[in-house]
């Protein structure tokens, strides 16, 4: 188990390189088996993970550029563990869902495996430069996936996605370098090790600027309003698998970045910026939910809904209490599962009808009952129905946020209303009412391949909705540890006041 994290990161990449050799027709089988092994490895990691330990586990450290303090440094804690598992799971199911007749299947599989490496790498890195490395590298396979298999405007969308996030992350890179320099000034040592950075105390002014630099990278990835416009494009044009992974995992990189970098390294600035972040997040929640309602394209509805939900996650991250933070990490997972499933579902109908425009459908529930049922389950999870996975995170986030701002919570809480408005409108337009077109009568319900991809997600949605404890507990531990770290690390009294690890005294 010593090098399990390295194996987790590089296994898909090595398999990807070997994948070039694999025969064209067995490419999918190859992809499925590799992704399955990766998932098993990730689950093995979970099995050997010590849930009572909130700190980093299975750490590996070896210097790469010692002159400059860059080292290969990986570790896993309760926050990253489950995101990694989810990434592995979503990749596997995404590959399962691929149609056999996908053109250039081999290229697709290889890019997906590389993408998986970068995703896992981002979440396991404890070195800022290695983090950045995987972060940037993830753009490349995604660019290819969107650009090669996407819709008519795929090139525009792919390039926009790439450039927008690339520009933001370069500013983030400046922040990372400045951070390393400040650490060097303080201690005389060059290091990009996050755990070292956690110990550095910075002045408010330094934190302010660093926060802005990090924000540029993370906020575009999340994507926060008003930096979100690449997302509808990317989703609108991406092939199903691209959208699934983009929504489920890539977006989480942004919020994960806030959790891993901004909060613990810059606690004072994080608190200072809370109102700003909250304002943007509230706009995200409400504004994009309304935009989602105005969409005609089913996929765009879900794309915008992702932005809206990411707003809730951001709110939780900056609620500065264990409930909110833990909830938002859980919500990252649940949003990953749910939005991934929803994009898969849209892909299913798109494959059959060649359209995603809701008005072209209508009455699908009668023709494709299983499809409608699974869609319904995911819809309910998306609107945060209790006993589905969507509720736990959303509830905790809103609960945590209430401590910060009551009015804000009511505004953010409108998500449960307007979220159901656009989702139910989508469902009604597509599934209810009479059939719009005769030809839709002949639509086939889900086949075995699609069920294999979707049923596990349904099971998870219910399982973690009813019994979230196995993953909520480690998350909670790590979230609390993070808050304690923030509290100890902060310099301003106001920050300490804002952070609530545990409210010991009940009024």
């Amino acid at each position: 188990m010593d090098h399990i994290l390295s194996i987790l990161i590089f296994f898909p990449a090595i398999a990807g390189i070997l994948g070039f050799v694999v025969d064209k027709d067995s490419a999918k089988a190859y992809g499925v088996s590799v992704a399955a092994v990766e998932l098993l490895l990730a689950l093995g990691l979970w099995a050997s993970f010590d849930i009572t330990n909130p700190g980093m586990q299975f750490t590996e450290f070896s210097p790469i550029i010692s002159q400059f303090g860059i080292s290969y440094n990986v570790g896993v804690d309760g926050i990253s563990l489950f995101i990694v598992i989810m990434a592995a799971l979503i990749t596997l199911l995404g590959i399962v869902l691929l149609r056999e007749d996908t053109k250039n299947m081999k290229n697709m599989i290889v890019s997906l495996l590389f993408l998986e490496m970068t995703m896992v790498g981002v979440f396991l890195s404890l070195d800022a430069i290695i983090f950045y490395l995987f972060w940037e590298l993830s753009l490349v396979p995604m660019l290819y996936i969107v650009g090669a298999w996407g819709g008519p405007d795929r090139v525009y969308a792919a390039v926009k996605f790439f450039l927008y996030t690339f520009a933001g992350s370069l500013i983030m890179l400046v922040g990372l370098l400045a951070m390393a320099y400040l650490f060097h000034l303080e201690s005389g040592v060059w290091t990009f090790n996050l755990l070292d950075w956690y110990t550095l105390k910075l002045t408010s002014n330094q934190q302010f600027w660093l926060f802005l630099a990090f924000f540029a990278g993370f906020a575009i990835k999340v994507p926060m309003f008003p930096f979100h416009t690449w997302l509808p494009w990317a989703h609108g044009q991406a092939p199903t698998i691209g959208s699934v992974i983009l929504a489920a995992v890539l977006l989480k990189m942004g919020t994960y970045g806030f959790v891993r970098f901004s909060l613990p390294i810059l606690p004072d600035a994080s608190v200072t910026f809370t109102p700003f972040i909250m304002a943007l997040s509230l706009i995200m929640v409400i504004y994009t939910a309304m935009v989602a309602f105005a969409q005609k394209d089913m996929k765009q509805v879900i794309a915008y809904s992702s932005v809206s939900h990411m707003g809730i996650i951001m709110i939780g991250v900056f609620a500065m209490n264990a409930e909110g933070l833990g909830g938002s990490i859980f919500l990252m997972l649940s949003h990953g599962i749910v939005s991934g499933a929803l994009f898969m579902l849209v892909g299913v109908i798109y494959e059959r009808t060649g359209t995603k425009i809701m008005e072209e459908f209508g009455g699908l529930a009668a023709v494709m009952p299983v499809y409608a049922t699974i869609f319904g389950v995911m819809l309910m999870a998306s609107v945060g129905l209790p006993l589905t996975i969507g509720f736990v995170g959303e509830f905790l986030v809103l609960l945590g946020f209430y401590k910060v701002s009551a009015v804000g919570t009511i505004l953010a809480g409108t998500t449960i209303i307007i979220g159901s408005v656009y989702m139910l409108a989508l469902f009604k337009k597509s599934f209810f009412g009479p059939l719009k077109h005769e030809k839709n009568l002949g639509l086939k319900d889900l086949d075995k391949r699609e069920l294999t991809a979707l049923l596990p997600l349904v099971a998870i949605v219910v399982w973690l909705g009813v019994y979230p404890k196995p993953i909520l507990e480690p998350i909670d531990n790590s979230a609390k540890a993070l808050l304690v770290q923030m509290e100890n690390h902060s310099q301003l009294e106001s920050t300490k006041e804002a952070i609530i690890v545990s409210k010991k005294e009940v009024k």
Binding site: P369, T373, L387, F395, Y402, I417
Partner: protein, 636 residues
């Protein structure tokens, strides 16, 4: 006893899974109906046993497992069976059982028979969670769960097309389902806020902990919690202004309306207020309680007034439900929680009966709802006629019937509290209630046989269904007789409400007043609608054009208001935002790109290809450098 709790809770769930997982895709089979009805019946038996146990040994409290724990929050799946919840359980399971059996007949011809039972049992399960939970979060699970089941069931005939509002005020089942869900969500937000307030100030969501801590909280806080929770209750119990969904919900199959939108789910709001009685009976929140009572009274009257002119058989019943919910809230608001609960139970029985009867009529009339098209049907549908008659008598609050005891008690309470305005409204409403319920009965079963001209061939429901409805009829008649026993049982848990001496003194007079009004109402209704031949009822076109009629007919234009001032602006704003998103937010990003491109295009202009131009650029550059050097040197 723990096992019984689980049996009561999970038997419906098992039924739902049975129908949903194994039979969802298979053709209709009565096996599903039978199995599900049996399972609900088992739940009912378990509930009865539990009730006996509770009466004897007190509450049963079980904790199944922990659900969410994060930060300091710890929410278990815990279930509390005490006097209040066991009453609710009894009502829910009993009505559910009967509705299930009824549905085997009613849904006989429906393709999606199996699916229907899956949903219906799931609803019962959710409702059981709602009433049995020992904490607010668990309540919320049930709360949302019934919401979803209600959504599924209202929209059960999802394939129906949208029709314009003028033609059908509830547009289509799927529309009505969405409306119900969304409107409930508005209220749920209030509920959530209440839960958050409780958590951050008490640190727990368990009823016992919370109620114990309540007296120590600040007044303002208590008021906020009370308001927030009541907003939640308003949604589920369809109180003004969140009431429009209830009448639209009648798009669902009639058993659904009977079970969900009359007997059980809509009373969840009342249940919440009763459950939270330690909160609402605090002095600090007196104003809130008074508001609840006043709103209840208002809704009672408001809904009744709409029922006066309604033509849709189900809408009439739905409006009467709304009106009766108003009564319950009035009682609860005035502190007479046990009376509210009593009325809740009584109402569940007679209203379910009424709905099922209406269902029989619809079934017979091929889903025709317009009472103007019916008439004189008692000949063909004697059983249903009797049932609906009994239910209407109970609803009208005539002596001996269940409604008489419960409703009378509420009116008495209002009088006793000195809230004479509420009292007056309730009394007048009682009269109206009698009028509209018998208007419906007479329209349907008496008078000219208008349906014949329209080619209907009505026949009564299956015998076994009618038999199955009997318990409801019995209870609709006799439930009131056990008021004293109920009082004794329930006040172990709920605060007693003692009538003052004066009230006792005037009780007979108050009762008589109500009876007189009710009887008057019935007589008027009879005169107007039950006649045959020359006395037969004729449409009064002129009256139908009058402002008042129009006002009532259009539900006081509330739906129109919502449409024009909320739905449409929201839609327009959404579209505008989308345009802004594309043109401004995204446009700005593209603008940066375009500007870069443009400036590249402009600056490549310097690359003319001519060597002398290049030399000039170089020369100019050098000169500029030297000039800059000179200036810098001169300045400093």
């Amino acid at each position: 006893m723990e096992n019984l709790v689980y049996i009561a809770l999970f038997a419906p769930f098992v039924g739902s899974l049975f129908a949903g997982l194994f039979f969802a895709r298979s053709p209709k089979t009565h096996l599903v109906g039978v199995v599900n009805s049996t399972l609900i019946g088992i739940a009912f038996i378990a509930a009865v046993t539990l009730a006996l146990h509770v009466a004897e040994h007190g509450a049963v409290h079980v904790t199944m497992m922990s659900w969410i724990s994060a930060g300091d929050l710890s929410i278990p799946f815990g279930f509390l069976v005490d006097e209040v919840s066991v009453t609710m359980m009894l009502v829910v399971t009993l009505v559910s059982t009967i509705v299930h059996i009824y549905s085997t007949g009613y849904m006989d011809h429906d393709r999606a028979y199996n699916r229907f039972f899956a949903y219906l049992s799931a609803f019962v399960f959710s409702m059981m969670i709602l009433v049995m939970s020992d904490n607010f979060a668990g309540l919320f699970i049930g709360w949302e769960g019934v919401g979803v089941c209600s959504w599924l069931l209202i929209g059960f005939w999802y394939h129906k097309e949208d029709r314009p509002f003028e033609e059908n005020p509830s547009i289509s089942p799927s529309w009505a389902a969405n409306e119900a869900f969304i409107m409930n969500r508005v209220a749920d937000l209030g509920m959530l806020v209440g839960i958050f307030l409780i958590y951050w100030n008490v640190g727990s969501l368990q009823y016992d902990v919370v109620f114990k801590a309540l007296p120590h909280l600040a007044d303002g806080l208590l008021v906020s919690i009370a308001i927030a929770l009541f907003i939640g209750a308003m949604g589920k119990s369809a109180q003004f202004p969140l009431h429009t969904w209830l009448t639209d919900a009648m798009e669902g199959p009639t058993p659904v309306s009977a079970l969900i939108h009359a007997a059980t789910m809509v009373t969840a709001g009342v249940f919440l207020v009763i459950r939270a009685n330690p909160l609402y009976s605090l002095d600090a929140v007196h104003e809130v309680s008074m508001f609840i009572a006043s709103l209840g009274a208002f809704v009672a009257f408001y809904a009744a007034s709409m029922a006066l002119s309604a033509r849709d058989i189900k809408r009439i019943v739905a409006l009467s439900t709304l009106s009766q919910l108003g009564y319950m809230f009035a009682a609860a608001g005035l502190g007479a929680y046990w009376i509210a609960l009593f009325h809740l139970a009584a109402h569940a029985f007679f209203k379910a009966l009424l709905f099922l009867g209406a269902g029989n009529v619809m079934h017979a009339m091929d889903d025709e709802l317009d009472i103007f098209k019916m008439g004189g049907m008692k000949k063909v549908m004697m059983g249903s006629y009797i049932y609906m008659g009994i239910a209407s008598f109970a609803l009208a609050g005539l002596p001996v019937m269940a409604g008489f005891y419960s409703k009378d008690a509420i009116i008495e309470t209002a009088f006793n509290d000195g809230s004479y305005i509420i009292w007056a409204i309730l009394v007048i409403t009682a009269g109206m209630t009698a009028f509209y319920s018998f208007r419906q009965v007479f329209f349907t079963f008496h008078g000219e046989e208008r349906y014949k001209a329209l080619g209907f061939h009505p026949h009564d429901m299956y015998k076994y269904v009618l038999v199955a409805m009997a318990p409801l009829a019995v209870l609709a008649i006799s439930f009131g007789w056990f008021m004293e026993n109920f009082h004794e049982f329930i006040t172990k848990n709920l605060p007693d409400y003692e009538m003052s001496h004066t009230t006792h003194h005037w009780a007979w007079l108050l009762g008589s007043l109500v009876i007189v009004l009710a009887v008057t109402g019935i007589i008027i209704a009879y005169k107007k609608y039950a006649g045959k031949g020359p006395n037969a009822w004729k449409r009064d076109e002129e009256f139908e054009q009058s402002f008042i009629y129009k006002l009532v007919e259009n539900q006081y234009y509330v739906p129109k208001f919502y449409d024009e001032f909320i739905v449409q602006p929201y839609t327009i704003a959404s579209k505008k935002f989308w345009e802004i998103d594309k043109a401004v937010v995204d446009g700005f990003v593209d603008l940066i790109g375009k500007m870069s491109y443009k400036s590249g295009d402009v600056s490549r202009g310097m690359q003319t290809g001519s060597l002398s131009a290049y030399l000039n650029w170089m020369g100019v550059g050098a000169l500029l450098l030297i000039v800059a050097a000179a200036i810098t040197a001169l300045i400093g």
